[in-house]
């Protein structure tokens, strides 16, 4: 028996690994191991106030801190009967765009790109790819700034709270963001070409299902109260358990998800595949130019999807800023209208759909359930790795080649391992 291990898996957020076991030319096992320690956040938020909950759950992950906060806010506000005014909604859109840009630029350029150019990290790439790397860093810095301005700091900003914001940024600062977004657009467009020109192997391709939030405005977007599935169905988020069907697998502290017994994919690629034809402007043009049928079968296109989403985000920001500035009055924080309720909030975290489900009793969290994108992607991720290993075994390549190919696949999914250990209520639904 041959065993190939990647542990720890580098350039992903959190502690994870890959285990591959083969017998001759046959694959015995391909697993994506989640090694991250358990934190039991779902149990710890019970008995906390909603405000305390958002301060705890955002700490599930530093990359998707605002997505967790946003999903929690949406779930909690439904449960508490809170309707936030437009300025709050626009501010939340802005912070969410900031996170999406930050996460994508970090992932696509700094974590994933070195694989394709054969570098161990982005730093040694500085000599040959100076423009790309410094450009990506500028973009990332801008995105961090958006998060800082809206949420209070780059990571775990507490400003977005239940019912609104503690404080609103100054007009001049917002104007500045708008200006910078415009200036960064040319670099982002060039970036799309960079990823489009990468040679993406096709030997592990296979069709799958894609899911993402269906934005209320029927445009391209990152939040919604419905889920769109590539099979054509549109389902309210309250039915998330039916969609995700978590089950427990002993090799990971995360739970895998299946939809109607089929693995599925969430994230930028899913959003592009499901909603891409709604894109307008430069992002729309780029989508039309580069999208093809292979996107439906190959997860590595996720990097390219992220690059296009960066363009979209930069185009959105000036518009969102204008909406915020238009509303002069800073709204007060909206108070709950009820002390008891149930609510599911869903947002598109950079790496896919994130659900927070709360039950509130006497103003405190009575029960909480989170479903995390990486958990939803695990099954597909392992499937594609298995495909790849099977193929590679027939070509008698060495361990390193297998390892690299698997890493490319895993990293394409942009797994967020800190997040993925947070799954709850085991309904061991083995098929």
């Amino acid at each position: 028996m041959r065993e190939i291990l990647v542990e720890p898996l580098a350039r992903v957020e959190g502690e994870g690994g890959i285990t591959i076991r083969t017998e001759g030319k046959k694959v015995k096992e391909v697993r994506f191991d989640i090694l991250e320690g358990t934190r039991l956040i779902e149990a710890l938020v019970v008995g906390k106030t909603p405000e305390e909950d958002v301060s705890i759950t955002c700490r599930i992950c530093a990359i998707c801190t605002l997505s967790h906060r946003y999903a929690a806010l949406r779930g909690l506000e439904k449960a508490l009967g809170i309707q936030v005014p437009p300025k709050v909604q626009w501010m939340r859109s802005l912070m969410h765009l900031g996170e999406c840009l930050e996460s994508h630029s970090l992932h696509a350029y700094i974590l994933a790109l070195p694989d394709f150019f054969g570098y161990p990290s982005v730093i040694p790439m500085l000599d040959q790819y100076n423009e790309e790397v410094t450009g990506a860093l500028t973009l990332k810095k801008f995105a961090n700034r958006v998060m800082e301005v809206t949420s209070g700091r780059m990571i775990h900003g507490e400003n977005p709270t239940v019912g609104g914001f503690g404080r609103y940024p100054d007009r001049e600062v917002l104007q500045q963001l708008k200006q910078e977004a415009k200036e960064l657009l040319p670099f982002a467009e060039k970036g799309v070409k960079l990823f489009a020109d990468l040679d993406i192997p096709s030997f592990f391709e296979q069709e799958t299902v894609f899911m993402c939030c269906e934005p209320d405005e029927k445009e391209y977007g990152l939040v919604g109260d419905y889920i769109r599935i590539s099979t054509g169905e549109v389902v309210p988020v309250e039915q998330y358990q039916k969609l995700t069907n978590e089950r427990f697998v002993s090799h990971s502290a995360a739970k895998h998800c299946l939809y109607k017994k089929r693995p599925y994919t969430v994230g930028a690629l899913a959003r592009m595949n499901n909603l891409g034809d709604r894109l307008k402007g430069k992002a729309g043009m780029l989508f039309k130019k580069y999208w093809n049928e292979r996107w439906l079968r190959n997860p590595v296109f996720n990097n390219l999807a992220q690059a296009i989403e960066i363009v979209w985000g930069l185009e959105q920001i000036p518009m969102v800023v204008d909406h915020i500035i238009k509303i002069k009055e800073d709204p007060e924080i909206v108070k709950p209208t009820q002390r008891k309720g149930d609510g599911v909030g869903a947002v598109e975290a950079p790496r896919g759909t994130l659900y927070h489900h709360y039950q509130i009793k006497e103003g405190l969290v009575a029960d909480a359930n989170f479903v995390i994108p990486t958990g939803q992607n695990l099954e597909d991720c392992e499937k594609y790795m298995r495909n790849a290993v099977e193929k590679l075994l027939t070509e008698a390549v060495d361990d390193d080649a297998i390892r690299l190919q698997c890493e490319i696949i895993v990293r394409a999914y942009d797994p967020c391992i800190s997040c993925s250990t947070h799954l709850v209520t085991i309904e061991c639904e083995d098929e």
Binding site: A10, E13, L40, G47, T65, I123, G152, T161, G166
Partner: protein, 260 residues
């Protein structure tokens, strides 16, 4: 700095959100200096050519929440001259250690994972790293503040012990001329919490939640009494005190309440 004088540095992440390592990665302006002023031997969030060689300085993020991590932690300690805890999880256990010291971890574990059997890891209750190894220096924060981190790091790589002021968030809050929330009866933990964040929450009209852990001389009992006077219940106050303060608040709270 000459190549051969550069320190060998490793960054490790245990259980947490990776926010402290990310704070470093997010510091675009400093990142290059950071990378070039030392030999980064291990930093698996940022690069893949990592090794397990001896280190001058190990920076450790995250709490310890399974036995394998505890072993790994000890192994890192053995080959590191200095061990620096970065972030609230490593320093005090983080939010996942908010119930540290009281019973019920088993039930909480079962609530989340049922009777699941973990093949690769043996989970334990999450604890700060100094429960397992000696720590030479603590850089607290959830997440750490980039300026404070690089300030400390610059000193550490030259064999200096950095000084971080041990005054509470209130000092920074006053410098920023915020309206004091405590005076309005809002449960602000500023007086008990170590400064360094620049009082970011009070500056957004939101109470300090204590995410930097306790300041050395926190007068927990006085704040406890004050908040009770303002009409908050013992339960509310205790819950908030414990939320981000992990191992740091156990002793003072026990002193006031007798039990946790």
């Amino acid at each position: 700095m000459l190549e051969n004088q550069k320190k060998d540095v490793g960054l490790y992440g245990f259980t947490g959100c990776n926010g402290d390592q990310l704070t470093i990665i997010h510091s675009e302006d400093k990142l290059l200096d950071f990378w070039q002023s030392v030999h980064i031997k291990s930093f698996s969030l940022a690069k893949s050519d990592n090794d397990d060689s001896d280190l001058d300085i190990a920076l450790v993020e995250g709490s310890i929440s399974n036995q394998e991590q505890a072993e790994h932690m000890k192994e890192i300690r053995k080959r590191s001259k200095k061990l620096i805890a970065i972030g609230n999880c490593a320093c005090y256990g983080g939010v996942q250690a908010m119930e540290l010291g009281s019973k019920g971890w088993d039930q909480r574990f079962r609530k989340v994972y049922g009777d699941a059997f973990f093949e690769l890891r043996t989970p334990i209750e999450s604890k700060p790293i100094d429960v397992f190894v000696d720590v030479d220096f603590y850089i607290p924060g959830c997440p750490i503040n980039a300026d404070q981190f690089f300030y400390c790091f610059a000193h550490l790589i030259q064999d200096h012990v950095p000084t971080i002021p041990d005054h509470p968030v209130c000092a920074e809050c006053r410098w920023r001329e915020n309206d004091c929330l405590l005076l309005k009866g809002i449960l602000c933990l500023g007086p008990l919490t170590a400064s360094g964040c620049n009082a970011v929450c009070p500056s957004h009209n939101l109470p300090c939640l204590g995410c930097w852990g306790p300041v050395e001389e926190a007068n927990v009992s006085s704040e406890f009494n004050l908040l009770k006077e303002k009409g908050l219940t013992q339960e509310e106050i205790k819950r908030r005190f414990r939320m981000h303060n992990g191992s740091g608040i156990i002793k003072p709270l026990k002193k006031i309440l007798g039990v946790l």
